[in-house]
């Protein structure tokens, strides 16, 4: 409780991080309340060809798309897709990556080396390249995007947890626990993990931003949700055929991606400052 209050206080002091938190809250709120906020909620599955490509006005706040649907309403529903992809993909990556990192970090055997080298192989190819290859292989769908992202992102957590575990191992309280005969699993999950959790939380927050960007890129390349899904990357891809006349078509979804990713990045930076004073804000996350 005490720590939570401390966190909140710090957060309110750091205005930039607060802005990030607000952007994230806005995304979550939008995703939940989409049906109430949308001016034309039925436009997700219903189309009005006579209304196509109308510029933003009082009725269609962000204009209409190639099928005559309201872009504003579609953006709101797109938030649901974005947040689902990000949460599941990151969740799976953490579930895979963290235990592997713990094991590799805790034990000092050839097996640790093997685990780390395997994760290095995945890191050897730029994430987007591997994700594209996997997503194309599995066929375009949201499920497959999530799979492709999870399969390519887990090594980041493995690396982080591995490094942190190795450095914390030398601390006396860990050595004391081992000397007292605590089982390795117990030491790993009860002592090591809580002590490195702040790094994991920071990494995960910032990772959300990167994942949303990659997911949108896959959508843009046509590997994501099928039409008529209001996925943001797909909307931008659709708009290209109608530029420059329909300038509004790509504007709203691009701005939405930008704000959401910025929200996670700013919040992650702020969290890092608060939770992990050793590291300076200015050090960049790595993806």
């Amino acid at each position: 409780m005490e720590t939570l209050r401390f966190l909140l206080k710090k957060l309110i002091e750091d205005r930039v991080a607060l802005l990030g938190a607000l952007l994230i809250l806005l995304l979550i709120f939008t995703a939940i309340a989409a049906p109430f906020l949308a001016t034309f909620p039925e436009d997700i599955a219903e189309f009005h060809p006579p209304n196509r490509l109308i510029a933003p006005d009082g009725t269609f706040w962000f204009g209409t798309d190639r099928m005559g649907s309201d872009i504003y309403s579609r953006i709101l529903f797109g938030a649901r897709i974005t947040i689902t992809i990000a949460i599941i993909a990151i969740g799976v990556s953490v579930i895979i990556g963290v235990p592997i990192g713990l094991i590799a970090g805790y034990y000092h055997t050839w097996f640790s080396d093997l685990l780390m080298r395997t994760s290095d192989i995945f890191l050897a190819v730029p994430q987007i390249v591997l994700a594209i290859a996997i997503a194309q292989t599995l066929g375009p769908s949201i499920e497959n995007i999530i799979l492709a992202l999870s399969a390519t992102y887990w090594p980041f957590w493995t690396r982080l947890v591995y490094a942190e575990t190795r450095s914390i191992q030398k601390e006396t309280f860990i050595e004391a626990n081992i000397a007292l005969g605590a089982s390795p699993i117990r030491v790993m999950f009860m002592h090591v993990l809580p002590n490195i959790s702040s790094s994991i939380i920071v990494r995960t927050t910032i990772g959300m931003g990167g994942t949303i960007l990659t997911a949108a890129t896959l959508g843009f390349l046509g590997l994501g949700a099928p039409p008529p899904s209001p996925e943001w990357g797909r909307m931008i891809a659709e708009s290209r055929e109608f530029l420059p006349e329909a300038w509004w078509y790509a504007t709203a979804p691009g701005l939405a991606i930008f704000l959401v990713v910025m929200g996670f990045n700013l919040f992650g930076d702020g969290l890092r400052d608060i939770l992990d004073p050793r590291i300076r804000r200015s050090v960049r996350h790595d993806d």
């Binding site: 599955a45 219903e46 189309f47 060809p49 006579p50 196509r52 490509l53 190639r66 099928m67 005559g68 066929g139 375009p140 046509g222 099928p226 039409p227 008529p228 659709e238 290209r240 055929e241 109608f242 530029l243 420059p244 006349e245 329909a246």
Partner: protein, 532 residues
């Protein structure tokens, strides 16, 4: 925090960069001020093409997107010209057909030469057809069933004789696809029995109106006028043609409006055509083409094997909304699997309309249980996605659930051959490969073609009988009647959802004259074109 900065230090930081920066500025300014050399000779026609020219081998591809090098660098014995398309003598000055319809004897022109100056002879024609049959690619599927490798004989230098297994009414229509290659040159470059494929994928062994000068798979090709071409040249012509790959549609449109490109493909979205029509640089010429848009229905699978379900589908497409609103009336409604403007197309057929009440009526009669159906779409082809989405939205109103799967053309074309993998529905175009009604209804709904060119798993004894008879007959009246009957029957059976026939909107620079449109080459044969 210690403040360790002063104005002097900032100056010093800049000082280090100044020389580099200055050098960069000088180079850029010189470059920017440099006169723009006319990169192209004045009389070079630059065409912006959407598909990349991956190869220069005329016998391995058979698509409309890359037709330019086949038509301009190579000649066939006959050639399709104009609209409606007419079959003209080309390398051959005349031909004879034996009374049993199996032997075709062509007499070659005396003055035809390849680009290296050697004469075009009968042995080259025989080599070319044998190469097509051996490579089994491109247009070979038109010939494998009727011609045996080695059966084509060079009687003398100027006489070549094709010996067919069985008489085929469409053979003549497919002869233009036999692009004649210089056999002596090809044999010189042959490696490990590859029919010189490696060499000719980047080089030219033709006799066509233009001669390959430069080729880069990432950019396109440049070809110069072949002065010795057998057709001769009038007093107005192009010195060179350049076909450049420009994938992005906006770049093609902008380039046309700026005058960088003199021509581009004629099947752009209507929104872009409207933009071009407003430009002072561009003329858009309009022609009725032969390229129908339809949904393949998988007739072999439940519940689409029930005619009532197929009729419900056909009543559920908003033809008017699609043609009028989404395509701005740039296409014409075409209710049967034959373009309206080809001979044999049935006249006065009404076809289906968008009528959800009738759709519900037919749906009620479906005996098998309904399920969620899969509608395919071709990723990157916006129109197919829009058509699929429109159908999906109407189907949901009559209680048929569906999901859309937008996949790339290679994925889709693979699935189209597999009864299990094929989508329940797939919207796409059928272009003119040869101007004969058989190209459409005869390929798409003929029983023996199931799994290859019949991707609907549609089979009807009567339709098969009409088409078989039409292929075997040389009497055009009989053939026309049979194709009309067959296509009407397929429509009545709701074998597919037939939507429209395309119009061609060819954008050309205003100084360009002499463009000759034909649905087979889409006006990409450049020998008659000139600048005013």
């Amino acid at each position: 925090m210690r403040k360790i900065t002063s104005s002097r230090q900032r100056v010093s930081i800049k000082r280090g960069l100044i020389p580099t920066f200055l050098a960069a500025v000088i180079i850029s300014v010189t470059a920017l001020l440099a006169p723009i050399n006319a990169v192209h000779a004045k009389n070079t026609f630059v065409f912006a093409n959407a598909s990349p020219y991956d190869t220069m081998d005329p016998q391995v591809v058979f698509d409309v997107g890359r037709v330019a090098y086949r038509l301009n660098l190579y000649d066939g014995l006959l050639r399709w010209l104009d609209n409606p398309p007419k079959l003209n003598p080309w390398l051959a000055e005349s031909y004879d057909i034996s009374s049993d319809g199996k032997q075709y004897t062509f007499t070659l022109r005396a003055n035809a030469k390849f680009h290296d100056g050697s004469p075009v002879e009968a042995k080259d024609v025989a080599y070319s057809i044998d190469r097509i049959l051996a490579l089994k690619k491109g247009a070979s599927s038109l010939f494998v069933k009727v011609i045996k490798p080695g059966s084509t004989k060079a009687i003398d230098n100027r006489t070549v004789q094709f010996n067919l297994n069985k008489s085929s009414a469409i053979f003549l229509a497919t002869v233009p696809e036999i692009h004649v290659m210089n056999s002596d040159l090809m044999k010189k470059h042959e490696k490990d029995g590859d029919w010189a494929s490696a060499w000719v994928s980047k080089n030219d062994a033709g006799s066509g109106s233009f001669k390959l000068k430069r080729y880069d798979p990432a950019k396109g090709f440049l070809a110069e006028r072949f002065a010795d071409h057998f057709m001769g040249w009038g007093d107005k012509y192009l010195d060179a043609i350049e076909f450049r790959t420009v994938k992005e549609i906006n770049s093609r449109v902008l380039g046309l409006m700026k005058g960088d490109f003199h021509g581009a493909d004629g099947y752009m979205p209507q929104d872009q055509i409207k933009r071009l029509m407003k430009s002072d640089e561009v003329n858009v010429s309009e022609e009725e083409s032969m390229r129908i848009f339809y949904f393949i229905i998988h007739n072999g699978r439940s519940p689409m094997n029930d005619i009532n379900f197929r009729k419900a589908l056909s009543y559920s497409f908003d033809y008017k909304g699609f043609i009028k609103d989404i395509l701005s009336d740039s296409v014409a409604r075409n209710p049967v699997p034959l373009p309206n403007n080809i001979w044999g197309a049935p006249q006065g057929v009404k076809g289906y309309t968008y009528d959800l009440d009738k759709a519900r009526e037919h749906l009620a009669k479906v005996k098998e249980p309904l399920r969620e159906i899969t509608i395919g779409a071709l990723a990157g082809y916006g129109q197919t996605e829009q058509a699929a989405v429109l159908l999906q939205s109407a189907l949901s109103k009559i209680g048929v659930k569906s999901k859309i799967l937008a996949e790339t053309w290679p994925v889709a074309s693979g699935k189209m051959r597999n009864e299990q993998q094929m989508y329940d529905l797939l919207p796409l175009w059928k272009s003119t490969y040869y101007a004969d009604p058989n190209n459409w209804v005869g390929e798409m709904y003929y029983g023996p073609n199931i799994g290859s060119r019949n991707n609907s798993w549609y089979q009807d004894d009567q339709v098969d009988q009409w088409i078989t008879e039409a292929i075997g007959s040389t009497d055009q009246a009989v053939r026309a009647a049979n194709y009309a009957k067959a296509s009407t029957k397929v429509m009545e059976d709701a074998g597919g959802i037939f939507v429209y026939n395309t119009k061609w909107f060819g954008p050309y620079n205003k100084s360009v004259k002499g463009v000759r449109f034909c649905p087979i080459g889409n006006a990409q044969e450049m020998r008659w074109v000139y600048f005013e």
